[in-house]
């Protein structure tokens, strides 16, 4: 009796496993299908797109859409493709990521190892800055960038992204340093090591994981930003996300769906690359950032 019921539950559970794996597989398809459609569409000719359908493979593979998207597609009045904007993005994303990470590291260090009266209140005040919808700072910021003489410039975008990125990087480093035992730093203080020396010799060498998390998080956030890009830049100074939107949403003449898809992949490649190479840290950043929302 016991045996039969056992085999029954085993059979039921084997069936259950099939169901689970099938469901998981279907969900994988759901997530991967848009990527597949993007890639396959970007390799099709326009005739192929019109005659075939969305989920079909290309009849003949063509790289023309990619060439056009990168070098000659018309975005606004210029017909130089995405390349200009792609490099624009790099030019402000890299400095903004590095500066905000560095500032965040120092802030986190002070807020954990060198607390002073009011530092906790300051941290809370800074965290509230993570929650505000950025719409509430756009108008004053547009004015301020003008006053500073850096509106519509790479410097302006670096400035904006550093200002509104520091709250997040500070949160990362502060939450990481909080877990470091106080004794480590206390002993160094007793030995007469100063602020910078302790940071340089003790804190920085053990910070590699959180530095990676912060860089990846900031890189993804700033690269993918659209709001600041569209408000604070114009013409050939725009970031790649804004260029992509302009390319796709200005329909003059024949709409090149294949070129649109190639351009979308171009805009997504850097962050996808980071995700593939350092996905573990990416996920960690997401969950660390989830405290703030």
């Amino acid at each position: 009796m016991a045996d039969t019921s056992n085999t029954q539950t085993q059979g039921a559970s084997r069936f259950g496993r099939y169901v689970i794996y099938t469901l998981l597989g279907l969900v994988c398809l759901y997530y991967l299908l848009p990527l597949f459609i993007m890639v396959s569409t970007s390799l099709k000719t326009l005739d192929d797109i019109r005659s075939g359908n969305l989920i079909a493979l290309p009849n003949e593979v063509t790289f023309e859409p990619w060439k056009e998207a990168w070098g000659s597609a018309c975005i606004g009045v210029r017909c130089e493709g995405m390349s200009v904007y792609f490099w624009n993005s790099f030019r402000f994303v890299v400095p903004a990521v590095l500066i905000s990470t560095l500032v965040g590291a120092f802030n986190g260090y002070v807020l954990t190892m060198w607390r002073f009266k009011g530092s906790d209140i300051f941290f809370s005040a800074l965290m509230i800055g993570c929650f505000i919808p950025f719409q509430v700072v756009l108008l004053p910021m547009a004015r301020t960038l003008g006053e500073l003489g850096i509106s519509n410039s790479i410097a302006g975008l670096i400035f904006v992204h550093v200002v509104y990125g520091v709250a997040f990087t500070t949160l990362f480093f502060r939450n990481y340093y909080v877990t470091i035992p106080d004794e480590l730093v206390k002993a160094a203080k007793i030995d007469g090591a100063g602020f910078l020396r302790i940071f340089w010799r003790i804190i920085l060498p053990i910070s590699t994981p959180i530095i990676v998390v912060s860089i990846i998080w900031q890189f993804t956030q700033i690269w993918n930003d659209f709001l600041f890009g569209v408000v604070f830049s114009s013409g050939d100074r725009q970031p790649v996300t804004v260029a992509l939107n302009n390319l796709v949403n200005t329909s003059t003449g024949v709409i090149g769906y294949n070129v649109d898809m190639a351009a979308a992949i171009i805009a997504a490649l850097p962050t996808l690359f980071v995700y593939i190479v350092a996905g573990k840290y990416f996920v960690r950043g997401l969950t660390a950032g989830s405290v703030k929302g």
């Binding site: 689970i20 794996y21 998981l24 969900v27 994988c28 997530y31 848009p34 990527l35 459609i37 993007m38 359908n53 969305l54 500032v103 260090y109 002070v110 060198w114 530092s119 300051f122 005040a125 929650f131 505000i132 919808p133 719409q135 509430v136 700072v137 756009l138 108008l139 004053p140 910021m141 004015r143 301020t144 200002v163 509104y164 500070t170 030995d191 007469g192 602020f195 993918n224 659209f226 709001l227 569209v230 408000v231 996300t241 804004v242 992509l244 939107n245 796709v248 949403n249 898809m261 351009a263 979308a264 805009a267 997504a268 996808l272 995700y275 990416f282 996920v283 969950t287 989830s290 929302g293």
Partner: protein, 309 residues
């Protein structure tokens, strides 16, 4: 027992000069100072500035004569603002519900000691690495009436199938839901999975010994214990929903007409393309208040639970 004063134990400090000493003492504050100033001016100062603008008649250029609540009155007399609010309500609730359902469902399935879990997880999460503009572009093509999903169904023999949500005023906002859930549900799955891994095994074992079935255990014990995860997930998702700007811009551009406007696209349009800065500022302040209405209860309960813990 010799009573050594504690200062004697740190001779190194007194060796350095008085000047260096005071620099050293102020260094931490000095390092924090730029962030302090920036936070004060560019976050709190700018909120006040926007608040001030919302009480003026500013159009293309800021104008600093106070006129009271006229802009808010105009805002709530504006049909387009109501459409935006309604869309936020539709998008927000369906987006949150969809992400929670898919996220929790997938997390539970993935928690059954699955082979290749890491690989599957990374597939679920990759959309989070994409820009909303890329997501919007992709789904705009997939949902294209004529050449997109509709044609696939036609080719499969469903000749009468129509799918025109992108160009249908009543349905456009739902396309934003579809794309939004696709992008964000994987992240919510990761949060729930982390929560599931934190559930106390011994309670589950005890319930199993008592003869509770697996669904009962999930429904009665495990899911209720994920309450904090639900809470932060809802908070994060509503935050994304309220700020939703890039996805709408890329997918529908707020159209057809202004049928799929959200408060964020409304604010952008009035501030930067229609030169109605006063009204734009008023809508931005309303967005801040909506966020506050979501975040403040969350922060409050977080603080309370951390104090208890």
């Amino acid at each position: 027992m010799s009573a050594t004063p504690s200062t004697a134990a740190v001779p190194g400090v007194s060796n350095s000069g008085k000047f260096l000493d005071s620099v050293e003492r102020f260094l931490p504050k000095l390092v924090l100072a730029p962030t302090f100033v920036v936070t004060l001016l560019f976050i709190y100062g700018f909120i006040l500035w926007t608040g001030y603008l919302s009480f003026t008649q500013s159009r293309m250029l800021p104008n600093y004569d106070l006129v009271g609540f006229i802009q808010y009155q105009n805002l709530f007399d504006n049909e387009r603002w109501w459409v935006a609010l309604k869309n936020l309500a539709i998008f927000g609730s369906l987006f949150i519900a969809g992400c929670l359902a898919i996220g929790l469902g997938m997390a539970i399935l993935l928690d059954q000691k699955i082979r290749g879990e890491g690989f599957i997880r990374s597939i679920y999460l990759y959309p989070m690495a994409l820009s909303f503009v890329v997501t919007g572009t992709a789904w705009k093509w997939i949902l294209n009436p004529g050449l997109g999903f509709e044609k696939v169904m036609h080719d499969m023999g469903f000749a009468d199938f129509t799918f025109d949500w992108l160009t249908n005023s009543d349905m456009a906002i739902y396309t934003v839901v579809i794309a939004g859930v696709w992008q964000s549900s994987g992240f919510i799955m990761a949060m729930f999975l982390a929560g599931l891994r934190g559930v106390d095994e011994s309670i589950v074992k005890a319930a199993q010994v008592d003869g509770a079935s697996l669904p009962t255990i999930y429904w009665r014990i495990i899911i209720p214990s994920l309450r904090p995860v639900f809470f932060s997930a809802v908070m994060i998702l509503s935050h994304i929903a309220i700020k939703s700007f890039d996805l709408v811009m890329a997918l529908t551009g707020g159209g057809p007409g202004f049928a799929s406007d959200t408060p964020a696209t409304f604010m952008y349009t009035f501030s930067f393309t229609r030169n109605q800065i006063g009204m734009g500022a008023a809508s931005a302040m309303m967005m801040l208040m909506i966020v506050a209405a979501v975040v403040v209860p969350f922060l409050y309960s977080e603080l309370r639970s951390s104090r208890r813990g």
